[in-house]
């Protein structure tokens, strides 16, 4: 059976006023991480029970459902957990240079951290590849203090 679409009807607008919200977000792990980055260090939180190391650190363990607050430092080297090569921008237009975004499992951490990989042709990036962080010259305590990662 063929379905015939009826005539077009007009549109009216509505909004969802997201700007009226005041979202409260746990900031402890992010502050711990950013403070450490000022010293070119990376810190997270470890669960005392299952020994999982989270970076950035949450205030409770996902698996054990207990409060956690043991600060640990992890290395700025690690391996590529997975990656993607950005070839179009948010609007779908091709980008001039491909950018390698990766999820990196830092040595000593059980979670992944996002970052950009440079200094290698994107065709040669592999999962499991060793990388190290390249720090900004004058870290300010921001996520951008790790400028990028490069092959170790």
């Amino acid at each position: 059976m063929a379905f015939e679409m009826g005539p077009e009807t007009r549109q009216v607008q509505g909004t969802w006023d997201v700007t009226t919200y005041r979202y409260k977000i746990e900031g402890k792990g992010m502050k711990l991480l950013c403070d450490a980055m000022k010293e070119k260090k990376i810190r997270g939180i470890r669960c005392n029970e299952c020994r999982t190391v989270y970076v950035p650190g949450p205030t409770f363990c996902r698996k054990c459902h207990i409060d956690i607050d043991e600060v640990v430092e992890v290395k700025d080297t690690g391996e590529v957990g997975t990656f993607a090569v950005l070839m179009a921008d948010m609007r779908g237009n091709p980008v001039d240079t491909e950018r390698v975004s990766a999820q990196i499992k830092l040595d000593g951490a059980d979670t992944w951290l996002g970052g950009t990989i440079e200094g290698i042709d994107w065709h040669d990036v592999k999962i499991g590849m060793r990388v190290k962080a390249v720090w900004a010259d004058n870290p300010e305590g921001k996520l951008s203090d790790i400028d990028h990662f490069e092959p170790a």
Partner: protein, 411 residues
């Protein structure tokens, strides 16, 4: 628990990118009417209604309230379920539990989306927007691409992480994604209720540009307007009301932590690991009395927002060994005529009215079992057991429903 069957399904007459002729509740009522028509039931036969969609996609809070007349809910129990991409199946599961518990005998599950009225990219971004703002406040370079890149470029970027990890661990090649995409689009061309209905070749897929390696435009799903309704009933009622039914023999859901990326707290799992799929499917198989799913499951309808996912889910849901899915694809086993027809409907990948997407999976399985498929995608072999799968949340939430041609045997 009582046995429960799907006794009928109703779709909107079409799933398309823009229904400009009707408003939201008018569109939903088309699927409700179709379900009544297909089952010869009337609203008086319905004890209770379950209802679901992704409400932020249309900017409507609790839309079942506005829709109450149009879904024929007046004076009936009604419940709204919302679990993201899996909403459709979660809504069906709520209907299942209402009947299995003995609370109701005949329940109608109503699921829909009219994505043309909102902006689904914006809606999806809204999941993590507050966290992203905090990361930007802490110096994350979201758009410049330096330093910590955060999301890796929207939902496709996050899906690319998953695709890459899957390819690496399974040994499949990017061409397998193209091949799966072509297969499903071609299946969709046979399905009158599919949105993208063009016979598609591997070359067609490969002609589309990359968004984020390894994913191309041709690997992503459309956004659709449409609604799907299923009516479920107890064993006693099913036998009275319908000549052909499909039994719901297993249900399960499982969640992990949001795995898209590190947000403001480190996340535990690789988004290609999908342990919830393993946990949920094992539970559903056990409930359905299925001991060897590789042998006993005759078809699968999988939730694939992106083309690599069909292959990934087959492995994670225990329908084949890890690393085997692409070999089955090469052998033709996933074709409509194959040994494990996968997304004969064309999948979410070809039709995606999000709230209904995870409902269309069990709906298609049920119609295949009843041999009531309209269109050319009826699976030729007898389907005894089918697996329907839903996926949602922030890459971390899985639902599974097993449908069978016979009721569940009492233990």
């Amino acid at each position: 628990m009582r046995n429960v069957a799907i006794i009928g399904v109703g779709y909107t007459p079409v799933f398309v990118s823009k229904r400009k002729d009707v408003n939201i509740v008018e569109m939903i009522s088309e699927a409700v009417d179709a379900a009544f028509r297909n089952t010869n039931l009337t609203p008086e036969d319905i004890d209770s209604i379950t209802f679901g969609n992704m409400q932020t996609f249309e900017g409507l809070n609790l839309p079942h309230l506005w829709a109450s007349e149009h879904i024929r809910a007046l004076d009936k129990p009604t419940i709204r379920i919302s679990t993201g991409g899996t909403t459709g199946m979660s809504t069906l599961q709520a209907a299942y539990y209402q009947v299995a518990s003995g609370l109701h005998d005949v329940v109608m599950a109503v699921t829909w989306e009219k994505q043309s009225e909102g902006d689904s990219q914006v809606g999806l971004t809204g999941i993590v927007m507050p966290e992203a703002m905090v990361m930007i406040q802490h110096g994350m370079d979201l758009f410049g691409g330096r330093g910590m890149a955060g999301m890796g470029g929207g939902s496709t970027g996050a899906a690319s992480y998953q695709a890459m990890s899957y390819l690496h661990h399974s040994g499949a090649s990017p061409e397998h994604i193209d091949k799966m995409a072509a297969l499903e689009r071609t299946n969709a061309s046979k399905n009158p209720y599919a949105h993208l209905r063009k016979v598609t070749t591997v070359e067609d897929i490969q002609a589309t540009p990359f968004i984020s390696w390894p994913l191309r435009y041709g690997h992503t799903c459309p956004t659709s307007d449409g609604a799907t309704v299923a009516i479920v009933a107890s064993e006693e009622k099913a036998k009275k009301l319908a000549d052909q039914v499909a039994w719901i023999t297993g249900v399960a859901s499982c969640t992990s932590d949001p795995t898209t990326a590190n947000l403001i707290e480190g996340q535990l799992t690789d988004s290609a690991e999908q342990q919830p799929a393993r946990i949920a499917s094992e539970k559903a198989f056990a409930m359905a009395g299925i001991k060897n799913p590789k042998k006993e499951i005759d078809m699968a309808e999988l939730y694939n927002g992106f083309a690599h996912q069909s292959l990934m889910w087959l492995e994670k849901l225990g329908l084949c060994k890890e690393g085997e899915a692409h070999k089955m694809l090469d052998k033709g086993a996933l074709d409509i005529e194959g040994e494990l027809p996968t997304n004969a409907s064309g999948g979410v990948f070809s039709t995606n009215a999000i709230g209904a997407s995870a409902m269309n999976r069990p709906a298609e399985c049920a119609l295949q079992i009843m041999r009531k498929i309209e269109g050319e995608h009826q699976i030729p072999k007898k389907v005894r057991n089918a697996l329907a799968h839903g996926w949602g949340g922030l890459f971390q939430y899985v639902t599974v429903v097993i449908l069978s041609d016979e009721p569940r045997k009492a233990k």
